[in-house]
């Protein structure tokens, strides 16, 4: 009897249910969306400046490397103001990103915020310009000393080709020595040049300013110095060499008489174009795009995955240079991007940063 009552009750309920069911159209579909609770990985980039082609491309390389992984890219630009950069990093630390990458304006004053990041448990990374003090999970830098050496070797090679031995006059417009990069480049350059006593070496301090570079070279020409080769430790001021050569009637391609050997460091699109046209002989390439790629790659594969970065040679297939060196000191991975020479033999290779930045990413170069 109780079963019968139960059965009748169920049947009546079903009848009522079937007759009264109507979909409520007022509630939002978003209520149904389950919150997965997964937070996207966020990488903060505290950049020193966008005031040069190099730094613009560096910013883009980090941005693309982060976004290609589906991560969130946050950035700030300090415009060469160390205090501002420190504050920007402090702000990032408060937001608790998964990692902070910085291009230090002041290698010393940035120590404090690096330590704060360490205390917050956020992996701190430095690229291009390192930081003194604090613990950096990844420190990606360019072998500026070797770049200087390679530039000198390229000039020596051209001089030997021209004279049969290493002799002649070499003009070097070096930048501010307070800049670690420019100092190392100068030292590397001079370490090679000094090996050739027949070379007349003319170093000129130009503070990294193109107009001073131009002025110093023109002054040398006016003094009647027979210059065989010119070099500038960076291509932004190197444009002063180009204007000086043009204005002093020394602007000839390398197959014409009167051509002056021109070797620079950076290999931005403008100078790679000059190599293709024969006005410049070679440029020591600083693969700016690999900075962002290798940093984010190491973060993804090791640091954020809780693994230790392996020491030794690190293969990076998409680059022209292929293999770089990683040294580990006190759990800090120091990655050194190797310089390489771009000359007429390889100037059209699509792996160069200059090609990718200009032709693929569309970053036009103000000549």
């Amino acid at each position: 009897m109780r079963r019968s009552k139960l059965l009748i009750g169920i049947i009546i309920c079903m009848m009522i249910l079937s007759s009264c069911t109507r979909i409520d159209s007022n509630s939002k579909a978003t209520e149904d969306v389950a919150d997965t609770g997964e937070k996207a990985i966020t990488i903060a980039f505290a950049h020193k400046s966008l005031n040069s082609y190099f730094y613009t491309i560096l910013n883009e390389s980090v941005k693309k490397a982060v976004e290609e992984r589906g991560w969130v890219f946050e950035s700030s630009v300090a415009d060469y103001d160390p205090m501002r950069q420190n504050q920007q990093i402090v702000n990032f630390i408060k937001q608790k990103p998964d990692a902070i990458i910085t291009t230090a304006i002041d290698s010393i004053s940035i120590e404090e915020v690096i330590r704060r990041g360490n205390e917050a448990g956020i992996p701190m990374c430095a690229i291009d310009t390192n930081a003194v003090g604090g613990k950096l999970a990844i420190d990606v830098s360019f072998d500026n000393y070797k770049a200087g050496q390679m530039a000198a070797e390229a000039i020596v090679e051209q001089l030997i080709e021209k004279y049969g031995n290493a002799r002649g006059t070499v003009f070097n417009a070096y930048g501010e020595l307070t800049s670690n990069a420019w100092r190392l480049r100068k030292e590397g350059f001079e370490a090679v040049i000094s090996q050739y006593p027949d070379i007349n070496y003319l170093p000129r301090s130009t503070e990294g300013k193109p107009e001073l570079v131009k002025e110093e070279l023109l002054k040398a020409f006016e003094e009647g110095i027979q210059i065989d080769a010119v070099h500038c430790s960076s291509e932004h001021p190197g444009r002063g060499l180009v204007e000086a050569l043009q204005e002093s009637d020394h602007w000839y391609p390398n197959w014409e008489e009167g051509h002056i050997i021109l070797v620079t460091i950076d290999a931005e699109p403008y100078f790679v174009d000059l190599i293709n046209k024969g006005y410049a002989d070679s440029a020591v390439a600083q693969d700016v795009i690999s900075y962002g790629n290798i940093t984010v790659d190491l973060l993804a594969n090791y640091v954020l995955a809780g693994k230790e970065i392996p020491e030794g040679e690190y293969f990076y297939g998409d680059t022209y240079w292929q293999v770089c060196d990683i040294s580990i000191t006190d759990n800090q991975a120091k990655v050194t991007i190797p310089p390489y020479i771009i000359n007429t033999d390889n100037s059209n290779d699509i792996r160069h940063s200059s090609y990718i930045a200009e032709k693929v990413w569309g970053f036009q170069y103000n000549k």
């Binding site: 007759s19 979909i23 159209s25 978003t30 005031n51 613009t56 883009e60 415009d79 300013k209 970053f363």
Partner: protein
């Protein structure tokens, strides 16, 4: 009128229903009472729900579309305004005009200034993916990345004639970025009205995607934004982005609204299929319930039918039995127990009635027999056998004395004939006596009609002392011969065979006389008193299994009767 319709309904439904078995009646009753109303209510509810949903959808889409259009319009207006501000900034105009002519320091200052302006104007927006400023003498400034290919002649995004912000949806002219953006373009003019450059900004579509996605409710509407070429630039359904909007209104409830300040249109629509879906779901639930009820109806019908027809079947089985061995047993307490009790009572009454009927019939038979016997006895009483026999004896001896042998033979035969017929107190005779009686009759008739009758006997000698009921053959032969004698002048032949099979005597009469007799049966009103009398007596004495059969097909008359077993007294044997 109402009664007419009621009558029709009754005719079509109830009357038909009454003709069905209980099982089918129960199913149909259940369907009429439960399943059909559920289907009707569910169907009506589904249609009503669809209609209401459609109206609600239209209202919702209208309100939602207006809100979305207003938001996007404001959003676009604010960004266009930013472009206007930068393009009208006199410092920017001156920077573009002098950049090529100034020294490195000044160039650097201009680059910084433009970048700062672009950064401060668009950097905080979050929606600007990239912006770019380009001078007519090919100086580039971008924040943080370029948009166009940097060439006024070949770029589709740059225009020297854009005196107000132009809008288009397209990819940037950057090989590495195939995504579409809302591209805003504005020419930059000097005070003299000369174009000095162009500013281009690429707005991320994420805002549009967000708007489209967030305005999807569980009505499952689709929101999309289309450009002037009907290309879907953003949609809640990402797969539709990039395709051409077909605008098939037949299959959806759709609302379109132009977004002011832009050349975009918001389309908010709900597929008819979606609206129907809820109705279908509703009807599906109803249908499921109806099917469930139908199954339950079937089960209940089977159970109820079994409970109804089970006792009936038992009764039927009992009724089919030829004899009532025992009455139906039922220890229940329901209506069927009453029915079974009634049946048992009825059976009991029936048995008793049959018993009474049988006794009455037996009584009647006895009475009839007694009456016959009384009649026969009265007839016999009228004849004084001794007087008759003495008279016949005198005639016989006179014939002998006179030398008339014929008279003597006739008288002798007549005496024998009468002796059998009027034999008192004996109901059974031997076959030999019956044969002799028939022969005497034929002899007498032959004497009268000049030996026209020929008869043949086929009787085993062993049967001559077998007793049968008296006058079981004679009256039949008399009827047959009488008819033949009346009509036929030629010879009359009749063959009679008597056999015994399993205590049953079978007498078969054949021959021309029999065939002639049987042939006249249907044509004329024959005197068959003898045959009727024999048949009636045999049936009366022994039951319907015995009697006289006139078989026209075989041309014979058959008489069957049991052999009389002498039990010491002349009683009658009882047969079923």
């Amino acid at each position: 009128m109402i009664s007419r319709y009621f009558g029709m309904i009754k005719e079509w439904s109830l009357n038909k229903l009454y003709k069905y078995s209980i099982y089918r009646q129960l199913i149909w009753c259940f369907i009429y009472v439960f399943v059909l109303p559920i289907l009707l209510i569910g169907g009506y509810n589904a249609v009503y729900s669809f209609s209401k949903n459609e109206q609600a959808a239209k209202t919702f889409l209208e309100e939602s579309s207006s809100q979305i259009a207003n938001n996007i319009s404001y959003y676009m207006f604010s960004h266009m305004n930013l472009l206007e501000e930068v393009a009208m900034n006199p410092e920017i105009v001156n920077d573009l005009m002098i950049y090529k002519q100034v020294d490195w320091n000044k160039k650097s200052d201009i680059e910084n200034h433009i970048r700062l302006v672009l950064g401060s104007t668009f950097g905080s927006s979050g929606a600007i993916n990239a912006c770019e400023m380009l001078s007519v003498n090919n100086c580039y400034f971008y924040y943080p990345s370029p948009v166009s290919n940097g060439n006024f002649d070949t770029s589709k995004l740059l225009s020297k004639d854009a005196r107000q912000v132009l809008m288009t949806v397209s990819p940037k002219e950057i090989p590495s970025d195939p995504d579409s953006y809302v591209i805003l373009t504005r020419g930059i003019y000097s005070d003299g009205g000369v174009c000095v450059g162009n500013i281009v900004a690429a707005l991320d579509l994420s805002y549009f995607n967000k708007v489209c996605y967030e305005n999807v409710t569980n009505l499952l509407n689709e929101v999309m934004i289309i450009d002037e070429n009907n290309i879907i630039i953003s949609a809640s359904n990402e797969e539709q982005v990039g395709s051409t909007f077909s605008g098939d209104k037949m299959l959806s409830v759709s609302i379109s609204k132009s977004i002011s300040n832009t050349n975009l249109t918001i389309v908010n629509h709900i597929a008819m299929q979606t609206l129907l879906k809820s109705a279908f779901i509703q009807f599906g639930i109803t249908l499921f319930t109806a099917v469930l009820f139908a199954v339950l109806a079937l089960m209940f019908a089977i159970l109820l039918t079994k409970s109804i027809t089970g006792p009936i079947n038992r009764l039927m089985e009992e009724m089919k039995k030829p004899e009532v061995e025992k009455f139906v047993e039922d220890d229940g307490d329901d209506e069927y127990h009453t029915v079974i009790e009634g049946f048992n009572k009825m059976s009991r009454n029936l048995v008793e009635a049959l018993q009474r009927q049988y006794e009455i019939k037996l009584q009647e038979t006895k009475l009839r027999e007694l009456r016959r016997e009384a009649e026969l006895s009265a007839l016999q009483q009228q004849i004084n056998p001794h007087f008759l026999y003495n008279t016949l004896e005198s005639i016989y001896w006179n014939g002998q004395l006179e030398g008339d042998e014929d008279i003597s033979e006739i008288v002798n035969a007549l005496g024998n004939y009468l002796r059998v017929i009027i034999m008192k107190g004996r109901e059974y005779v031997t076959i030999e006596n019956e044969v002799e009686s028939v022969n005497n009759y034929i002899f007498l008739q032959n004497k009268r009609f000049g030996d026209r009758i020929e008869n043949y006997w086929d009787v085993s000698m062993s049967m001559r002392h077998t007793k049968i009921i008296k006058l079981a053959i004679h009256p039949i032969v008399e009827d047959v011969i009488s008819v033949n004698l009346d009509d036929i002048e030629s010879e009359i032949s009749i063959s009679i065979s008597i056999v015994e099979e399993h205590d049953t005597i079978r007498v078969v009469m054949t021959g021309h006389a029999v065939e002639y007799f049987l042939g006249l049966m249907d044509k004329t009103d024959l005197n068959t008193k003898g045959i009727s009398s024999v048949d009636e007596r045999l049936r009366l004495y022994y039951g319907d299994a015995f009697g006289v059969v006139l078989d026209k097909e075989l041309g014979e008359i058959r008489v069957t009767m049991p052999v009389y077993k002498d039990s010491g007294s002349e009683g009658k044997k009882q047969y079923g």
